[in-house]
């Protein structure tokens, strides 16, 4: 009998996990947070919430400013009893603002990234050709160990940059630039290490894999998505081919392989790094199986509009927070389309912006909040519906 129970425990289909069920339900019931608005910022190009505390929000704006918000400000500063009764709207102001100028950036800031293991550092990249590393407490350019100011002068438009979230052995920033190379900047030395050649047109988006700390993926205007191993001399490991799916035996030649029929401007990995979503100007996001590089022919429908030549940052919910995982895809049609990752069905649309939605960000931790930033100078906070109200 004991053997039978043991066998039953080991062989039964995995039971639904209750926390997973609740967080999935929370994701599916997202709505705009009513009693809080962000102060009007510049047109937002990128948003990121720090992965450690899930408390600070960085917004990179197209008017050359970078804004830092504290999401727990409301809790920190407290509310009076009268305010609650009057239901006053809480205006969330940035706790720090990096304005346009010599100290900050001179042109549009295209990306902002928190340093993965420390809240005290963040990096920004801009169209003025620089990638700067900042100290959060002083909001000055970070001075490195041997007092090298961490400004990487690339002298080309930088469309996107990325730091590996799991890197132990390197501190590289990968940048996607106008001149077709993916350049790697080393934060330890303050110098460039090497650039990876292979693309034939400006690189719009770069992402590191959350599974391998040496694997880098970049998408470019020449319709291709390339995979790079930063340790190798001939760094290009592969290129995604839209005609190569699991059942097909189609073979494309090296020069003609394309991932999309238009410039690629968005990449997103699932949290285990096994699937990749790429999206481009042909307005069809594609889901790729990472180890085999096959196009799993998931069809996301015609709901997305994507025509801007900037990096778009779609996000996928972490696999341990939402099952089946959802893809939050910002679209030029002033809404964020939420799609089921594997089946491609449209789950809901988050509509609030009055201009193009440029980025979406998930707040990690135990919450299921989603932030979206648009070119109407607004950041919207989407939070699960409170079951009491």
């Amino acid at each position: 009998m004991f053997a039978r129970l043991l066998k039953f425990r080991e062989t039964r289909p995995s039971a639904p996990s209750i926390p997973l069920h609740h967080s999935t339900a929370a994701f599916l019931s997202l709505r705009l947070r009513r009693n809080l608005t962000f102060e009007e910022s510049g047109p937002v190009n990128a948003l990121q919430i720090d992965p450690l505390d899930a408390r600070y929000l960085l917004a990179a704006c197209a008017d050359s400013s970078v804004r830092l918000y504290d999401l727990e400000e409301e809790a920190r500063l407290g509310r009076d009893e009268e305010d609650e009764a009057a239901a006053v709207d809480w205006l969330c102001r940035p706790i720090a603002l990096l304005d346009r100028g010599r100290r900050g950036h001179e042109y549009s800031v295209t990306g902002c990234q928190w340093f993965p293991t420390d809240n005290g550092l963040f990096t920004t990249s801009s169209m003025d050709g620089t990638v700067k590393v900042w100290d959060t407490n002083t909001m000055e350019v970070h001075i490195g160990a041997d007092s090298c100011a961490c400004v990487f002068e690339i002298e080309q438009h930088v469309y996107d940059h990325a730091i590996s979230p799991i890197a132990q052995s390197h501190n590289l920033i990968a940048t996607g630039t106008e001149d077709q190379n993916v350049r790697l900047c080393d934060m330890r030395t303050g110098a460039f290490t090497h650039s990876m050649r292979g693309h034939r047109a400006p690189v719009l988006v770069v992402k590191w894999s959350p599974r391998d700390e040496y694997l880098l993926v970049s998408g470019s205007v020449d319709h291709t998505v390339r995979l790079w191993d930063v340790r190798k001399a001939n760094a290009c490991v592969g290129s995604l081919d839209q005609y190569n799916s699991a059942g097909s035996t189609h073979v494309s030649t090296e020069e003609t392989v394309t991932a999309h029929t238009g410039p690629v401007n968005g990449l997103a990995f699932t949290s285990d790094g096994l699937k990749l979503v790429t999206t481009g100007h042909d307005q069809t996001p594609r889901l790729w199986d990472m180890p085999t590089l096959h196009n799993s022919l998931a069809n996301y429908g015609p709901h997305i509009r994507n025509k801007a030549r900037f990096a778009l940052h779609p996000v996928i919910t972490p696999l341990d927070a939402c099952s089946p995982p959802l893809l939050f895809h910002p679209s030029d049609s002033r809404q964020t389309v939420v799609l089921d990752l594997f089946t491609g069905a449209e789950v809901m649309r988050l509509k609030k912006h009055t201009a193009r939605v440029a980025c979406a960000a998930l707040r990690g931790g135990a919450t299921q909040d989603v932030f979206s930033g648009g070119y109407d100078r607004q950041i919207c906070w989407w939070t699960p519906e409170d079951p009491d109200t």
Binding site: S29, P43, Y243, L297, S331, D332, R334, G344
Partner: protein
């Protein structure tokens, strides 16, 4: 017979007499298509009727039903929140999937007249069957060599065609080519035979030039079995949408002249230097008419005040300059997402959908 006076104007729909409908492709007569259907239904016996959620993926644990039930309860409570309550009178048309992919392809193919090649744009299949599993099923049929995908038109739209139809078109050309070859000793016979083949190709607008080129066939290095080799190569699922010259020379052992010959017959279209799309004869005739039909439908909808019309009204008049019937053009636009279909009390309505002009400028 006296025409009605201007004060008594009959509506235009009733005035024009309808001739007999033009002959269309008929799949019931084709024994190979029937064999395909039989094989396909045998393969799909387990899957048909298709499950409403689509094929289960490995990531969904077997105890899904428990989660699904409670989540739908939560969904209904959240959808009753004041953000979006669709009125029950007008709602989006639900897609009822009653046929398999192959049956849908055959149904669409049957409505196409004989003057154009039986190409089925993939968006029509998306509109008819929904977006979810369509691409997967097309890939499966391709692997079995039942259909083939072609890129048609300059916008890069993909169309699907049955492999037996493609074989028929290649064999027709091969037959004419061979008969032209056999009867030629000098230029006269060759010109006569080949010009007959050229005329069969239809009003592509390139026949005069091609006549001159084709008449020199006797001097060129073209094997007799070039079309058979091309047939086996093109219907092979590994070939893909486009081929490079090196692939043609290695896999098909085609010489430059043979590639030129295939190009002149319309089986290869230029993509890049030394790269060709594998294509269908008279695909230009199909595509130009289809594009014209699309723009006509969209403009008819734009002229209306709210960009919507009853589907019955749209389907009454045949399209000018387009051989493809209206309901197929509507299916294609539905699959693309340019229009949406709603069920209203008056009937099915078609509404133009703006996907958003995307305000890229910041104020």
């Amino acid at each position: 017979m006296d025409s009605p006076s201007p004060s008594v104007r009959l509506p235009s729909r009733a005035r024009r007499p309808r001739g007999p409908p033009p002959p269309t492709h008929c799949s019931a007569d084709n024994p190979r298509i029937q064999a395909l259907l039989a094989a396909d239904s045998a393969a799909n016996a387990a899957l048909f009727p298709p499950p409403p959620q689509g094929p289960p993926t490995a990531t969904q644990p077997a105890s899904r039903p428990l989660l699904r039930k409670s989540r739908s309860a939560l969904n209904s409570s959240s959808s009753s929140s004041p953000s979006l309550t669709p009125s029950p009178a007008v709602h989006a048309t639900r897609l009822e999937r009653t046929k398999t992919l192959l049956e849908t392809i055959l149904h669409i193919r049957d409505s196409l007249p004989l003057s154009i090649p039986p190409l089925v744009p993939v968006h029509q299949l998306h509109g008819a069957l929904g977006h979810a599993t369509c691409d997967d099923e097309i890939a499966k049929l391709e692997a079995v060599r039942a259909v083939r995908r072609f890129k048609v038109g300059n916008l890069g739209e993909i169309c699907v065609m049955l492999v037996c139809d493609y074989e028929d078109s290649i064999r027709a050309v091969a037959g004419a080519f061979a008969s032209g070859r056999c009867s030629t000793d000098g230029d006269g016979g060759g010109g006569g035979g080949c010009s007959a083949a050229v005329v069969v190709r239809g009003p592509d607008g390139e026949s005069p030039k091609k006549k001159v080129a084709v008449q020199k066939v006797s001097g060129r290095n073209i094997g007799d079995d070039v079309f058979d080799r091309f047939l086996t190569y093109a219907t092979n699922p590994t070939t893909g949408l486009f081929v490079t010259k090196s692939q043609l020379t290695t896999s098909m052992r085609a010489t430059d002249d043979e590639i030129g010959e295939l190009f002149s017959y319309g089986f290869l279209t230029l993509k890049d230097v030394d790269t060709y799309w594998v294509s269908v004869r008279n695909a230009g005739v199909f595509w130009s008419g289809f594009a014209r039909g699309r723009t006509e439908v969209l403009q008819t909808l734009k002229k209306r005040k709210h960009g919507e019309m009853l589907k019955a009204h749209l389907e009454e008049k045949p399209l000018r300059g387009c051989a493809v019937p209206v309901d197929l053009v509507l299916l294609d636009l539905l699959g693309k997402g340019s229009i949406e279909s709603l069920d209203a009390p008056l009937g099915t309505m078609i509404r133009l959908r703006k996907r958003g002009t995307g305000n890229l400028n910041w104020t």
